[in-house]
Amino acid sequence: MNEVRKNGISYVLIAIFILIFNVPILFTILNSLKTNQQIITQPPVWIFRPVMEHYERIFNDANFPVWFYLKNSLLVSVFSTVLTLLIAFPAAYTMARHKTGGERYELWLLSTRMLPGAVFIIPTYVFFSYFDLVDSILSLTLIFLSFNLPLAIWIIRGFIRELPAELDEAAAIDGASTWKIMARILFPLTSPGLIAVAVLTFCACWNEYFFSLVFTDLHATTFTVAGQRFMTGHAIMWGEISSAVTISIVPVIVVAFIFQRYMVKGLSMGAVK
């Protein structure tokens, strides 16, 4: 009886956490469907007839090319994710299977993930402006790649280590080359880890703000930076901003819901192992 009651309280507490975590997001999504008057009314309006005027306006605003911003965000995120996987997988393989670099290399690798972007921002800015690559998809892709590589290698390495080395040896005896072992055996078997890395990398790129703010101006503006263009000195257009925020957060939340299982596994593999 006591056990049941104790667990009842646990469920109530979890429900409170869920409410606190999600209600502010829900408010914003609701605001994007309210009229401007309803948005700023106190107490907040809970029941109203949803209007699509803010979405219509931002999709038709010549000063706010939504598709262009979304395309930039998508290109940078996809390119970075693909490159991260392509570079991280062989590195993780050779570290896990051949101990290339040793433990000191592993620690150095993970420690590069921990330096803040502010440390790189001036040097990389000067570097890319020398090649005239500031404000381009390419420079952002390369920068995001460097942010995501360490964690990607770390997680994939954990997944490869889980697989018995006899697997490789058996294949090698059958005459499979190293590349074949990697491509045909290890790649498919570590796919949960690769999915986890892909999801985490994609979300990190999609959400990045600091470098996008400094590095982009006209040609490579990402959606995260563009979102606040409705906050002008004269007026804050909360309806438009709320719809922009909704457009930005819904994709990552959906991705997180679909791949949640992989992310939990990938993160715990990276952290605990």
Partner: protein, 285 residues
């Protein structure tokens, strides 16, 4: 496999990561001794330690440091306590977990910049919905985004977003604990309190340590939501914001590089220190 092939596999990653650590270090070191501003960019002059001397006297730099320390420490404590508690709760509630579990992770999935925009709207005392409920429930009608209260609210916003992260890693650690240890302890008549401190806590400590290291370093670099909500106003500035404003708004690359170098050295030291603690503990478990 041939030795060169092994090294070749590691090479692309190594070059990139070496490029973003070693090159910036040399670069910042050089810039920090130069008088290099937006208007004399093509013709920088040697400046000695003048950039560093300016920092010591800069009132803004001091308030940046003091806010950063309060911010990092408070967020870390709150997130760790709440995240750990939540992980313990979730670990014993199985009913329908598949369905509600993802809702515990939503805040950490969305962009911190968007979190900034979300709360900037909701916390406005005249129009915001959350501000209204704070007013009616707690009777606080002051502005929630300025002064000491504002600093506290910023800490709460970060706690809101990143408690799920600590929760997730600790929960993953709890999931991998062997069940038979608990059963054996139960048979020996161990009470819940002893069970927690003698079994659960030592076993999840490595996972907790990793989560806390990641949070500490991410907190030091905080930029997005604070910059969007406060725009680097006095008393709400972190080192990232200070560097951004000095270099890209003030045009003083030399001074910004000096801050960057200090940050670089302090963090490298901090990372080593945290790693040593973590590694020591992992081996002893």
């Amino acid at each position: 496999m041939h030795k060169y092939a092994r090294i070749a596999m590691l090479l692309p990653a190594s070059i990139i990561l070496f490029g973003v650590t070693f090159y910036p270090f040399i670069f910042n070191l050089y810039y920090s001794f130069m008088d290099i501003k937006i208007y004399n960019y093509g013709d920088p002059k040697f400046h000695g330690l003048s950039n560093y001397a300016q920092l010591v006297q800069d009132v803004n730099f001091k308030s940046t440091i003091s806010f950063s320390i309060t911010y990092v420490a408070s967020c870390l404590v709150l997130e760790t306590l709440l995240g750990f508690a939540l992980a313990l709760l979730v670990n014993r509630c199985h009913a329908g977990r598949k369905f509600w579990f993802p809702f515990l992770l939503t805040p950490m999935m969305i962009a911190p910049a968007m979190v900034g925009i979300i709360y900037l709207g909701h916390l406005d005392s005249l129009t915001g919905s959350i501000a209204y409920y704070v007013k009616t429930i707690f009777g606080i009608s002051d502005s929630l985004l300025t002064g000491k209260l504002g600093q506290f609210v910023m800490i709460l916003i970060d706690t809101w977003q990143w408690t799920p992260f600590i929760f997730l890693l600790v929960y993953a650690g709890l999931q991998s604990l062997p069940n038979d240890v608990y059963e054996a302890a139960k048979i020996d008549g161990t009470n819940a309190w002893q069970m927690f401190w003698k079994i659960t806590f030592p076993l999840v400590r490595p996972a907790l340590a990793v989560a806390m290291i990641f949070r500490t370093l991410d907190l030091v670099r905080t930029f997005d939501q604070l910059y969007i909500i406060k725009g680097g106003a006095d008393g709400f500035s972190t080192l990232s914001i200070y560097i951004y404003q000095t270099a890209f708004q003030g045009g003083d690359f030399g001074k910004a590089s000096a801050v960057t170098l200090i940050l670089f050295v302090v963090l490298t030291w901090l990372i080593r220190f945290l790693f040593r603690i973590l590694m020591g503990r992992t081996q002893s478990v």
